[in-house]
Amino acid sequence: MAIDLFIPMDATALALGADEVVEAIQQAAKKAKADIRITRTGSRGLFWLEPLVEVATPEGRIAYGPVTPEDVDGLFAAGFLQGGKHDLRIGKPEDLPYLKQQHRVTFARCGITDPVSIPDYLAHGGYKGLKNALGMERADIVKAVADSGLRGRGGAGFPTGIKWQTVLKAEADQKYIVCNADEGDSGTFADRMIMEGDPFLLIEGMTIAGLAVGATKGFVYIRSEYPHAFAQMNRAIEAAKLAGYLGDNIQGSGKAFHLETRLGAGAYICGEETSLLDSLEGKRGMVRAKPPLPAIKGLFGKPTIINNLLSFAAVPTILDQGADYYRDFGMGRSRGTMPLQLAGNVKYGGLIELAFGVTLREVIEAFGGGTLSGRPIKAMQVGGPLGSYLPYSLIDTQIDYEAMAAAGGMLGHGGIVVFDDTVDMGAQARFAMEFCAVESCGKCTPCRIGSTRGVEVIDRILAGIDRQKNLNLLDDLCDTMRDGSLCALGGLTHMPVQSAVKHFGADFNRPPGAAAPRQAAE
């Protein structure tokens, strides 16, 4: 019988040479006349170990990593097909503290199953939520989601159940389900990992949403920077159609749900929900004024549930295990689990799914092992490019929506980017304004013009021209952008800028051209 090997085809694993490793293993197996079968999985999210090669043995899967093509002959010589000893041998992945200490709910299957095999998905607990939902009244499905306490995982944290309730109540000949998979925040990759590693989870969540509100059509809007995820979603949708999990008659229920993918075109603003809807309609991705809410007048003017990918991905668990099961994770008003993404200058970066309530320190130091460079941490940016830069002194902040806000930050989509003491916060603040200028849709003046003026003002501050006057002007500009912008892009750009000035004032008060001093923030 063939020996089963599992090797990820996650984008990061591929970027680290997973395909080359597969090729080397196939060649070596041929030479050794070993009968092997390689399954390409998603990633478990332990990126410093990628490419991670897992071998099925009688004791369970044994992992080796990070494997390069040059390691392959040595692995064969060490008998790795039987779980043999080797320097790269990690043992059972689930025994690693990094995984053992997580609460893998949304990511329970990612990295384990064949992402586009329906039988594999079913064998690992998939489609149980849908099965329950098919036997439920619409209002009861919505109630389960509301009772779970699930809040939008895109960043705003709006209660998902209320959104669904609004669409349920709206009367229309057509309703839509739209997944926001335009994961543009730097430091985030959870959506990408699900699309590449467990796409049926998203399909199941969206199908349940369709049943819940009477929507028969859905779209997944995927950013063009994710070509692997786009291809994998398309494969999964085809497989789900063939198996009767999408189409006019889902599992013989007589209920219909159709799903299509759409590719973005490199505009960050399309992660904003109304801009995404315009883009889906084939227009410029311009932000719409609200109201009307998308739940009332969304895609093509019809009632639309638009949720972040991770929100939909939480739904199958809620319908399978019950609202209580999900709500029992977490703290305060932040219920359930949050797939955190640890990135930037960090030793052990990856996907860390935990119940709300851990601290940044636990994530960055206990899981992440500190900086990759070995230098002290100077700043942490949580929640993407519109999130605040927090100084090391705030590392004991708890990770939940309210605690992050109280610390002057935001959780956003759960990305945590770590910087060591070589970072120049003046440059980071300038970049935040520059990014806003490049990505502004141009509809409202504070964002479109304010961001360009912001770059200029910061340039003057850093050049030492009328510093105090220009710092005051920057503050004023930030307030105007915050209060006067139509959406979160212009409305939140003040966060990285003002937090950098507040916590790292020294970086704005150096002789022009001087390098950042190597020290932790005050």
């Binding site: 970027a15 410093w48 920077e225 759409r262 590719l263 084939g282 990135a343 990856g350 990759l372």
Partner: protein, 159 residues
Amino acid sequence: MTTQASWNQDSARQIIAGKKKLDGALLPILHALQAHFGYVDEAAVPLIADELNLSRAEVHGVITFYHDFRRHPGGRHVVKVCRAEACQALGAGMLEQHAKKSLGVDYHGTSKDGSVSLEQVFCLGNCACGPSVMIDDKLHARVTPQRFDSLIGKLKGGR
């Protein structure tokens, strides 16, 4: 990526016809044209406008709104360097400078030999293993300036 067709009205019409029935067909059409020709030719604008019952201005507006769509042929390969924060934390700034200098172009420019167009990108989702670079549709992790040169060398050597 290296074998893009030169502009051809009939193929363009076929591509447009193949996608026009989709809901919100404009972006899928533009992506398909760019995948085929490497850019979206000016001559495609009236064709699309006719088929989708839009004004030329609306089509032009969409093409120019999105960073992805090129209006002129680019290099044989497109190299995208990630400029976002997670990659900055690992030295993307230095990589950017190096890339511009070694290719002799700024962003949106094409190297003199026509082999490479350089683009900026804000996040490729490889944030735990930066700095990241995407060459055509292939992602590369932990790209140092030396590694960048070796990747570019392979492209130039290849054609």
